[in-house]
Amino acid sequence: MRILLVDDSRKHRDAGVADLSALGHEVVALRDYSEVAKVVRGERFDVALLDLLMPAEAMTLGSAGLAHLGESFAVGYPLAVYLAARGVPFVAVATDTNHHNHPASAMMDWLVGDVVTINGGTVMFMHSPMKSTSDGQVKDWAEVLRRLTSAGEKKPS
C-alpha cells in the first residue's frame, strides 16, 4: 500500500518508515503538516497515518497568528477529515500524549473504539500502541495500520 505518514517527531516518523517499509509498503513521511496539501494533490494514497498534536506552522499567518507559532495543537483532527474527504480510504490519528496531559488527547477518549466513515473511507482515532526500541518508546505505526485496516474490513458494505 501507499502510505502517507505525518508526524513532527523524528523518532516516531523514522520508526514508522522502517516498520511499514519492512512490511512492503511505500511510505511518504512528512514532518510538516503544511506539506500535506501539496503532496496529496494529484497523488493517490491508500492510507494516511497521522499524529494528533503538532507544532503550529507559519503558513499564511500574519503577526497575530505568528503569536501561536510552535504551539502544540490538535492538527490531526482536521487533517483526518481533509484526507478522508479527498478520497484516502483509510485514515488513522494516533497520539502518544497521555490523556491527562492535553485536552486534545483527553477528547480522543470520546472517539477511541469508534469507526467513523467520511466520504466512504474508514477513519479511526486512537491512543497509539507503543513499542520499545533503542530510541526509547516509539509509536507502533504497523499496529496502528493493522487495527485500521481490520476495522475497515469489518464495516458493513
Binding site: 513532527d8 517527531s9 523524528r10 514532518r31 510538516d32 507544532p55 506552522e57 507559519a58 500574519g62 503577526s63 505568528l66 503569536a67 501561536h68 507559532l69 510552535g70 504551539e71 502544540s72
Partner: protein
C-alpha cells in the same frame, strides 16, 4: 559550545561577520548542523524545523526583520522552553544584541 550558522542565502555577509566574531570567543566552535548544540537562524519558521528535527538542539534566533519576526520567535520560546534564545541584530531599548551576546558568552565549566 558547538555552533552552526544557518541564516540562509540573503544573509551570507552577516554569516561571514558572525563567523569572524564567533572565532574570537574560545567558548565556541563552528560545526555543521548535525553536530551543533546551537543553530543560529534568522527566521522563526526555519527555527521551528530545527527544533522539531533534534530534541536536544537549541536555536539562537537573530531578529533581522520587523515585528513579525519577534512575535514568531517569542512564540517559539514559549512553545519550546529553554531551547530558544532571541537576540536582535541591532541593540534596541538596551537589549543585548547578537554581537554583544557572542562576544560576552562564556561557557560554564
Amino acid at each position: 559550545m558547538r555552533i552552526c550558522i544557518a541564516l540562509g542565502s540573503p544573509w551570507k555577509a552577516v554569516e561571514r561577520a558572525l563567523e569572524a566574531i564567533i572565532g574570537l570567543n574560545p567558548s565556541f566552535q563552528i560545526v555543521g548542523q548535525e553536530e551543533a548544540d546551537v543553530i543560529i537562524v534568522g527566521d522563526a519558521r526555519q527555527a521551528l524545523g530545527f527544533l522539531k528535527d533534534d530534541e536536544d538542539v537549541k536555536v539562537l534566533a537573530i531578529l533581522l526583520g520587523g515585528n513579525e519576526e519577534r512575535v514568531g520567535a517569542e512564540s517559539l520560546s514559549r512553545a519550546f522552553p529553554d531551547r530558544v534564545i532571541i537576540r536582535p541584530a541591532l541593540e534596541r531599548d538596551g537589549e543585548e544584541n547578537i554581537v554583544q551576546y557572542l562576544i560576552n558568552y562564556k561557557e560554564e565549566v
